[in-house]
């Protein structure tokens, strides 16, 4: 009996192949949701009416002026909803609200013959608002006691005693920013009632099933009357896990009411001002270390800024608490979490799902405390890494903890850290106005949905009589290469060439009740299901072949489109011939596959259990150069070793690691969400609502030298073909950039000084951090005036 992790000879998994749609991408012929509209006639375009208040009551809403605008067909309001007026799963997100909860909240939608008509119609809608007091910052919410959802605590041991008796005790408080997903493709839905009288919604969604459920409940239909298809997304990153449902519902409602196809495609301004983002956090911490710099205790309170509705804030916060240890053993832990309710967009899933925020807290602790302990930060981090036999604060054994130290050692060696440290020291000694530094940070990230029920998946696999294979599964493609991997899994399981496996678009009428493609779990879950389906068919085919070859079915071998027997040298048949024979023997050539992750349990009330199938490990070292005149910096070099198990698809996995890293570096250094927090007329308005004001990493932010290495001999038992998930964990490798910037800023000041660095560490933030160092240095040397450096003043 083979296990889930075993690979046959000549597997198609593990072979580096380009994205399955690469040729379509580069020729501009890969279609996205909004590309479909030119293939339809009489399409209506939707435009939202967005309120310019952070918090207000809608007293009156007059649509007649809009209907007078030429080309306006209909205005959708709460009165039009035949089912439930709600766009979420918590019933706290009215699709057409009577209370404006954030600046830009859509109160109704206008349908027009053209986008221009819909826009002019939206401008003509008359709304009377009664402004209400608002809470815009997390500090205001804490002050006002405005919280929502559960307030979990993860704890182990006796933290107060451990802190009281610790040799060294430090504390801090800081806030750090969220992140806009900025998928290049904004939210898009396109709905019509199709020839089979079902509501068909093309939607850029990571969670087609939930989109289907929300559309159904808004329309007052059953799920079997609504089909959601997601061909592909132009990026998701978590932003299309929970957020697309309302837009899909608007499109579907419009199409049902008008009998015409309806397109909802947010422009960038609408997307940024309407949709949720990565949660910003406030954190207060106190940490105790022993004489040798080993963490003894951590007490912390983390407050996420959830925005106006719960959305996914509760599971995001759970993952924060489950990752506040990152890769470090902390004997005594007491961490409280809570979710502020503010008048902002409803913050939501974003690659890492709260994990990065938890890890940012402990990496801040390490970075701030290392100089005070007199220990090199790299050494401090290494000293505190988990070792085998230890468990996380929530009680899960850290399996394969030894990989952390192995990766660390290999990384320092590959990246020539020792030699480069000397070069950096020499460089810094010679350059008063420019400083370099490098930092090493680890990642440990738990894989599985915290909520156990989501850890299941389905697939549908057809083998046709000519031997060609069509697969379908519940996962969605957002660029992460899931479909590429699934084709490789199917080709491996059936022993056929990759080219003979085609993948059909993700649709809720093919595979029902799917989980979101999220939590990095897409390949683990759907791969298990695809493999299961393929093996059902292969086992049936093996019996047909066994009869033909006169051998036991277990001895039939499927390799590269050829079917033969173990040890055979002159007898074989093609996979296509076998499929053809099987049909005539009335053997079923299709199967529904299913997978559920074994061994998970989680008690969300106690915050204890084993919620994760396994941990992903990695570490990175980044070297930066900071300009002392401006705080501007370059990322000179990054080296990464990351554990993806035995890679299903190395080119795809390296792409995920590099892309995740740069996205993480964007969050930590560049990407800055700024809301109007004044008491002026635009209070609550997002000031950075465009690509010109919200800056994503570009070529100038990528590491100038970028080396990524996949951890070797990394087979993960119990996961499809020995692989590991890859989507989220690499984002957190970017902590090395933030910590390197901290150390470079420190190099402008005296040694053994704890450097405060805002997050994101923009050039301005770095400038103030290094100026503070210069100020302290100047004060220190005041008694004995030394020749001033050129920029000290």
């Amino acid at each position: 009996m083979t296990s889930l992790a075993d690979r046959p000879v000549n597997p198609v998994v593990g072979v580096p192949v380009a994205h399955e749609n690469a040729a379509l991408h580069v020729t501009g012929t890969a279609l996205y949701t909004d590309d479909l509209i030119v293939r339809h006639q009489d399409v209506l375009h939707a435009w939202p009416v967005q309120a310019a208040h952070a918090h207000a009551l809608v007293q009156d809403l007059r649509t007649a002026p809009a209907l007078a605008v030429p080309g306006v067909v209909r205005v959708l309001t709460a009165a039009d909803v035949p089912g439930v007026n709600d766009a979420g799963t918590k019933h706290d997100e009215p699709l057409f609200p009577t209370e404006v909860m954030f600046h830009g909240h859509a109160v109704c939608w206008v349908l027009g013959e053209t986008q221009e008509a819909a826009r002019l119609g939206a401008a003509a809608v008359e709304v009377d608002y009664e402004p209400l007091p608002s809470l815009v910052t997390v500090a205001e919410a804490i002050e006002a006691g405005s919280f929502q959802g559960a307030q979990p605590t993860v704890s182990r041991g006796d933290t107060s005693t451990a802190l009281a008796t610790a040799a060294h005790r430090f504390s801090g408080e800081f806030e750090f920013g969220g992140q806009e997903h900025f998928y290049l493709e904004t939210h898009a839905s396109f709905a019509y009632v199709d020839e089979g009288e079902q509501v068909l919604v093309h939607c850029s969604t990571q969670h087609p099933t939930e989109t289907q459920e929300i559309v159904a409940h808004v329309l007052g239909l059953h799920s079997h009357e609504v089909t959601v298809q997601c061909l592909r997304m132009g990026g998701g990153f978590g932003g299309k896990e929970m957020q697309p449902h309302g837009y899909a519902a608007v499109a579907a409602l419009g199409s049902v009411l008008t009998g015409r196809p309806v397109r909802v495609r947010l422009n960038r301004t609408q997307d940024i001002t309407l949709s949720g983002k990565r949660h910003p956090y406030h954190a207060r911490w106190e940490a105790g270390f022993d004489e040798s710099g080993r963490l003894q205790a951590l007490e912390a309170t983390v407050t996420s800024d959830g925005g106006w509705s719960l959305d996914l804030s509760e599971p995001v916060l759970q993952r924060t608490l489950c990752h506040i240890d990152n890769a470090y053993w902390i004997p005594h832990v007491q961490v409280h979490g809570r979710i502020a309710r503010t008048h902002k967009t409803s913050q939501t899933a974003f690659r890492g799902f709260g994990g990065p925020q938890g890890m940012l807290v402990i990496e801040e602790v390490m970075g701030r405390c290392a100089p005070l302990l007199g220990v090199d930060p790299t050494e401090l981090r290494h000293r505190n890494l988990y070792v085998p036999g230890q468990t996380t604060p929530y009680g899960q054994p850290v399996r394969h903890a030894e990989r952390l130290r192995t990766i660390w050692t290999q990384l320092l060696d590959r990246a020539e850290v020792e030699r480069r440290r000397e070069e950096i020291a020499a460089f810094n000694a010679a350059h008063p106005d420019t400083k370099r530094a490098l930092a090493v940070t680890p990642v440990k990230f738990g894989i599985s949905f915290n909520l156990t029920a989501f850890n299941q998946a389905g697939a549908l696999v057809h083998v046709y009589k000519d031997g060609s294979v069509l697969i379908n599964h519940g996962g969605t493609e957002m660029g992460q290469g899931l479909h590429t991997k699934m084709r490789q899994v199917a080709a491996t399981a059936l022993g056929v060439p990759l080219e003979t496996v085609r993948l059909a678009p993700t649709r809720t009428d093919k595979v029902p009740n799917t989980s979101a493609t999220a939590a990095s779990s897409g390949a683990d879950l759907n791969g298990g299901a695809v493999k299961n389906a393929c093996e059902q068919i292969r086992d049936r085919l093996a019996e047909v072949a066994a009869r033909k070859f006169d051998i036991h079915p277990d001895d039939v071998r499927f390799v590269d489109g050829t079917v033969t027997g173990i040890g055979f040298h002159d007898r074989q048949m093609s996979f296509a011939e076998l499929a053809h024979d099987a049909y005539f023997q009335r053997i079923s050539l299709w199967a529904a596959g299913y997978y559920r992750t074994e061994g998970l349990h989680w008690d969300g009330a106690r915050m204890q259990g084993e919620p994760f199938k396994y941990f992903s490990y990695g570490a990175s070292v980044s070297e930066v150069e900071v300009d002392g005149f401006t705080g501007a910096y370059r990322l000179l070099r990054t080296d990464i070793i990351h554990d993806v198990g035995d890679s299903l698809s190395p080119l795809i996995d390296v792409g995920q690691i590099e892309g995740g890293f740069v996205q993480g570096a964007g969050w930590l250094t560049l990407e800055e969400l700024r809301w109007d927090v004044s008491d002026g007329p635009h209070r609550g308005r997002l000031a950075t609502q465009a690509a010109s004001t919200y800056k994503l990493p570009s070529f100038s932010e990528m590491p100038e030298e970028f080396n990524v290495h996949l951890f070797e001999q990394a087979t993960e038992s119990g996961v499809v073909y020995g692989s590991k998930a890859v989507g989220e964990p690499p984002l957190m490798l970017a902590f090395s950039v933030r910590e390197a910037l901290r150390e470079a800023a420190a190099a402008f000041g005296p040694g053994r000084r704890s450097v405060e660095l805002a997050s994101p560490a923009t050039p301005e933030a770095v400038f103030w951090a290094l100026q503070e160092g210069r100020r302290v240095l100047a004060a220190d040397t005041e008694q004995a005036p030394a020749p001033a450096t050129s920029a000290a003043h």
Binding site: A22, N267, R268, G479, K695, P697, Q771, S790
Partner: protein
């Protein structure tokens, strides 16, 4: 509504549906060419990039990458456009696979993940692939190393390596394209792996012939008009009737107004193809730059003649924008954060204003009168910019922004200093982002002028510079940081130039 005719991917298409405010992007997508995407509608992300054949000297043309989300489709009347679909075919049902070399490298090396930004990247990369000057690695590296980016004292050499491939590929060609998935490494690898176009490559050969001359165009619908006058006289006639008409060249700013602020000017006048606005004269005493030349054309035409501008170009928006944007437009919008004004102020530039009544020359430091206001009268246009020669030997352009490629300045500082025998003979400093208009920093200029070029002078001038303007707090930077950056700009300038040979005399 009047028809336009655009050749797209080798096939002439009539734009019967095109209105005066129909963007090129929307028209292409409506034609079924959905490869070009809207990612930001501001010319920031490049997902909409396409190629257009533009004039390139005598009898030649050049494949030029531009954003399709900003300019009106009508501006492309008579032009030849190529999209990602026109470069190659993916293969599949009924069509053979024939990827363009750029597409091949991007696909094979993992240059696409979600694929949404990819067609735009492919077009930007293809323009660089066909760039006639892209050649000999040695020469290319040298050129790049000479171009200071202005943000680093010691990192430039390193940066130059990073930003220029062994095949002469200038990474700045992709500075206007954003990817949220890959982290860029495979895209850079693809760019740096490109070879030389085959001799018979039809797009290469196309560059041997002139670009199609842009015909006079008029498109009207719904009470609005787009007009490309056939002559300067015709332009002035329109301006006499409609003094507040929207003038556009590359539409890189006006297009943002249309997309984001939903501006719908009743009359849009395209001046980009008027020959009188497309001159570039380098004389003994001055350079005159036509207001409608794209910044890329100016950059090539000046070929290093004004070193300060060579520091500006790589920091001015992106290649996609510079291929369309003009000095006339950047000065004409009057934005206090435009990057050209601080540099041109430092260079002592003037603008040539033209109207039906003739021309007049106004020093740039007398041009602006208030926020987006100037001495330009109704009916006048900016015809050219003049820069006196020789330029100051020591000059710098310091742009402070969050991102090094393609960002908007929080502060921009242009500095030009003449030093003779250890004494500053003239100093001009132009500032952007610290007042309602671009301004000159008179107080530090006065401190520098006539003073010995030494550290004490610089410290005094830097302190004065920190007090210039009335910087504000906003999402780009705090007022405190802006002021600090003014001071630091001069300190950095000193650090970069203190050791220059004839300055050393004064030490």
């Amino acid at each position: 509504m009047s028809d336009i005719r655009v050749t797209v991917n080798g096939r002439a298409r009539d734009g019967a549906e095109v209105g005066p405010h129909t963007r090129l992007l929307d028209w292409l997508r409506g034609e079924g060419l959905t490869g070009a995407k809207e990612g930001c509608a501001e010319g920031e992300c490049g997902a909409c990039a396409v190629l257009v054949a533009r004039p390139d000297g005598e009898g030649r043309s050049r494949w030029t990458s531009v954003n399709a989300c900003l300019p009106p489709a009508a501006a492309f009347d008579g032009q030849e456009v190529v999209t990602a679909e026109g470069l190659g075919t993916a293969g599949g049902t009924g069509t053979p696979a024939a990827l363009h070399p750029v597409q091949q490298e991007m696909a094979f090396r993992g240059g696409s993940q979600c694929g949404y930004c990819t067609p735009g990247f492919v077009c930007s990369m293809a323009a660089e692939y066909y760039r006639p000057e892209r050649e000999a690695p040695g020469a290319a590296t040298e050129a790049a190393a000479g171009a200071q980016t202005g943000t680093e004292v010691v990192g430039e050499e390193h940066a130059a390596d990073h930003e220029c491939g062994p095949n002469g590929f200038d990474l700045h060609a992709l500075s206007g394209n954003l990817c949220r998935c890959t982290g860029y490494r495979p895209i850079r690898d693809a760019a740096y792996a490109l070879g030389t176009p085959a001799e018979a490559d039809p797009l290469l050969r196309r560059q041997d012939r002139p670009a199609q001359p842009a015909p006079p165009t008029r498109v009207a619908a719904g009470g609005a008009q787009f007009v490309r006058p056939g002559s300067l006289e015709e332009l002035f006639e329109h301006l006499e009737d409609t003094p507040d008409a929207q003038l556009v060249a590359g539409s890189t700013d006006a297009g943002v107004g249309v997309n984001i602020q939903h501006a719908r000017p009743p009359l849009t006048l395209a001046v980009d193809r008027l020959e009188q606005l497309r001159t570039l004269e380098v004389g003994q005493e001055r350079v005159e730059i036509g207001a409608a030349l794209s910044l890329s054309e100016v950059e090539r035409g000046l070929a290093g003649r004004v070193p300060l501008l060579d520091q500006v170009f790589p920091q001015f928006a992106s290649r996609l924008i510079r291929n369309a944007a003009t000095f006339g437009g950047n000065l004409g919008t009057g934005s206090p954060i435009g990057d050209s004004a601080p540099a041109l102020l430092a260079l002592g530039a003037s603008v040539v204003l033209a109207s039906a009544g003739g021309e007049r020359e106004v020093p740039l430091d007398e041009y602006y009168t208030g926020y987006r206001q100037s001495v330009r009268r109704p009916g006048e246009i900016i015809r050219a910019v003049r820069i006196p020669l020789p330029p100051a030997r020591y000059s710098a352009f310091h742009k402070i922004a969050k991102r090094r490629f393609d960002d908007i300045s929080s502060v921009a500082v242009g500095i030009a200093v003449h030093v003779e025998a250890g004494t500053v003979t003239s100093a001009r400093i132009g500032l952007g982002g610290v007042a309602a208009t671009p301004i000159r920093a008179h107080a530090p200029e006065r401190i520098l002028s006539g003073a010995p070029w030494n550290r004490d002078t610089v410290l005094a001038a830097a302190a004065a510079l920190a007090g210039e303007g009335t910087p504000i707090d906003d999402h780009r930077a705090s007022a405190r940081y802006r002021s600090a950056m003014l001071e630091q700009a001069l300190l950095k300038f000193w650090a970069q130039n203190a050791l220059a040979p004839d300055m050393e005399v004064s030490r």
